[in-house]
Symmetry: C2
Subunit: 472 residues, 2 copies
């Protein structure tokens, strides 16, 4: 049996569902194909349940400071791991149920099978075929266990499994201090799990600015047990596992693998598309149109191998949805980049990173902000901490990007990425309101430092003159 | 004895000290005169110590939800009022000590006396006179007890006295639900003080949008005991006091008076300036230059009778400092307005308020955002709550202002005020990054609603097209 459709979407995750919204406005004749668990990676095993666990951990952590300011009895507080995990799953189920309920309108357009390309217009689903004018690949990414660690699979927890744990292990080795490693590692540490984390480099949460990398690594090293080195699994020890790096060996209950995700492209039959695949098996695609070569096939979301960031996956879905239903294929600009790691303090990159600026050879100046002495920061975090580096065009002070680790950093990062996106210069940003007392105030000194380093003369005054009569 | 100076600044608060910074760059020959407590209203009795108390109260309040997500033992937590107040004072002293230490460079330019105008260039300090080329009045504002309540003064606590309390009263009537009333009232309620609050109108925290006013009033009424009516003091009852409004009488230990502040202008001898004073005793002044008529006298900070907002007082100080030392008097633009009440959720007005837009007869459309169903909002607040109204120019969708009560509202308000200040339209704002999951996401639906109501055609797409070749 062959079903003829206008658009076939492979994958009912964030990118696929966003594409579906767009496609469904143009045609009823589409299918969305997914044989995996529904509800999106973010809601099932990603951003949402992790934020719930982090909220519990940080609220519990704040109680450490209770005695200091006059609330007694905090030493009687006990985290009940199984109840915490049950609560996280309850919230998680609300999020995924919400997603799945909205899918009821798809009726028989949702096909719970595995798709494999026969050619660029045809998918084999086993017992049926789909012939589609255009196809969107939105199969996402998933955690990946290297071959040599497969024998220890039962001792390894990845993010697909983590939120299903009925209880938390007493001790846990965290491999990798990227966003997932530092978010979950710190949260579990704060809940009392004995954590030993490994990082190959002095950095955390995806930071690229050397100053920030050192600051963040040292900050987290004071709170948690972090080893600098290449982590490996040495051997089993009864129910436990011995892990190690260059500087020693440690026995832990389990390993949390947070070393990265890989696009889900195996078994998709991409080799039947008739284009050359790279050494990871990925076809070439245009990041502006998401089109694979000149084929009627589009690659949207985490599957494209770029950063697994939800709002970018959703944008991809929109672009793919547009381009599979429009007469003419269009190229779209990416939003100003924004990546946030929900550690405490938050880590974020807004606009261009230090590495991107350096790689591109941009001439930029840097302003530095610190929350180390900000009274309000102490109230938010329990103690004051955090720094930011803001980058601006050396010529005119136009803001290009920032890296930061800061109290309320998720919000500082939004403000800075919008300032970059709106094309503000440092001088212009200094004319914007900064309320008191807020963490945003710390950004001012960074902006002021930028003014002193740029080629264009700085205004001698941080308020704008009234318009003279006759000015438009 | 008469001392001749270039600039005399009356008042060593935020406005006066900011003016001093500017003046000191131009001349050594200035004086700053203050006979009151040093350290600024904000750091002594205002924004800073209140934020410390609010942080304690909100952290304690969060423990109410601990059992729900698996942390046991929260019922053993006890707030020790005297230790909490001592901690708040300790922080407060750090803030004020910091301010006072920076004043050591003033040496004999700081005069701890009371100043009174003899004429527009001459101040009488009792045992000496100051003759100044230019004078800045930066005497601030203070809480005010109406004449009829003076007999109950010993039962009334105002913000000048509040932070000196060794202990907290068991029950407290809060008169007024403006920023101070709702901030302190809610914090004390959350710490277990029995609060009965009075508001003459269904509003809170300075909101002007009728939808927001109702929402906020009803939200706080669910948490706290709030009476709609005109509060009055009825009589003493032993050590206590009977307060009432149209709907009844209640006996409380003390009254927190939060009905507003008044400029400190009595005894300044403003009548000797030779300009007509209004019925509050205020001289006329130009809000752009801060100059009083054509006199060499400038009015900076809370004393000008506008909103007591620190960053605006500091801007006033800068303008007055500039205009007292520059050859030519300049007019400066105000920053985009931003007012934040640190209740939970935060209340804020960013850009123009609903009332200002209506008064000015601006043609605007409104987009509505809600945090009521946002998962992340529940994690931040304990439960999801909050709404926003964003106002935009009906013609082109340019953002004009917003009122909100929202989780992380202080940060939503910064983002929106910067968007207003940068001149973004709703369409442009929608091309900015919104990470997931963050409270900022809720703003998107408000922006989307604006697009549907404006005269200019909305783009059918919330991403920008790539620039075509040849575009600059």
């Amino acid at each position: 049996m062959t079903r003829e459709v206008d658009v076939a979407i492979i994958g009912a995750g964030t990118a696929g569902l966003t594409a579906q919204e767009f496609v469904a406005e143009k045609t009823d004749n589409y299918v969305i194909i997914d044989d995996g668990p529904l509800g999106t990676t973010c809601a099932r095993v990603g951003c949402m349940p992790s934020k719930a666990l982090i909220a519990v951990a940080n609220n519990f952590h704040k109680c450490l400071f209770f005695d200091e300011y006059g609330i007694s009895g905090a030493n009687a507080l006990r985290p009940d791991y199984s109840r915490i995990m049950a609560w996280v799953r309850m919230l998680r189920d609300e999020f995924t149920d919400g997603v799945i309920q909205e899918m009821s309108t798809f009726t028989d357009r949702l096909i719970r099978k595995r798709a494999r390309f026969i050619d660029a217009n045809t998918l084999d689903l086993g017992d049926e075929r789909i012939r589609a004018r255009r196809i969107i690949i939105a199969t996402g990414s998933k955690p990946w266990i290297p071959e040599r660690w497969q024998p220890y699979k039962d001792l390894i927890i990845d993010t697909d499994q983590f939120f299903e744990l009925a209880d938390l292990p007493g001790s846990l080795a965290v491999f990798g201090l990227g966003p997932i490693g530092i978010e979950l590692g710190q949260a579990l540490h704060r809940l009392g799990v004995e954590i030993i984390a490994f990082s190959r480099r002095k950095t955390a949460g995806g930071l690229t600015d050397p100053d920030l990398q050192t600051y963040a690594f040292e900050h987290f090293s004071k709170e948690m047990n972090i080893k600098l080195g290449t982590a490996d699994i040495r051997r089993r020890l009864g129910n436990k596992v011995v892990v190690g790096c260059e500087s020693g060996e440690w026995t832990v209950d389990r390993i949390l693998l947070a070393t990265g995700r890989r696009p889900v492209i195996q078994d998709l039959g991409l080799e039947n598309l008739g284009v050359e695949l790279d050494d990871r098996g990925m076809p070439p695609f245009d990041p502006g149109t998401l089109q694979i070569k000149d084929l009627p096939v589009f690659l949207a979301g985490d599957v494209n191998g770029q950063k697994p960031i939800l709002h970018e996956a959703a944008d991809d879905g929109t672009i793919a949805g547009y381009n599979t239903t429009a007469k003419r294929i269009s190229c779209f600009k990416k939003r100003t980049p924004l990546a946030i790691t929900f550690s405490s303090p938050d880590i974020a990159i807004a606009g261009l990173s230090h590495k991107e600026l350096t790689t591109r050879g941009v001439e930029f100046v840097t302003g530095k902000a610190s929350w180390e002495k900000l009274g309000r920061a102490r109230m938010i975090l329990g103690k004051a901490a955090g720094i930011a580096r803001i980058y601006a065009d050396k010529k005119n002070g136009r803001l290009l990007g920032a890296e930061l680790m800061a109290p309320a950093g998720e919000h500082m990062a939004h403000l800075l990425s919008w300032a970059v996106g709106a094309g503000l210069t440092a001088a212009r940003a200094l004319t914007m309101p900064f309320y008191h007392p807020v963490p945003e105030e710390a950004l001012r000194s960074a902006l002021g430092q930028i003014l002193k380093q740029i080629d264009d003369p700085a205004p001698d005054f941080r308020l704008e003159l009234c318009q003279k009569k006759g000015d438009s």
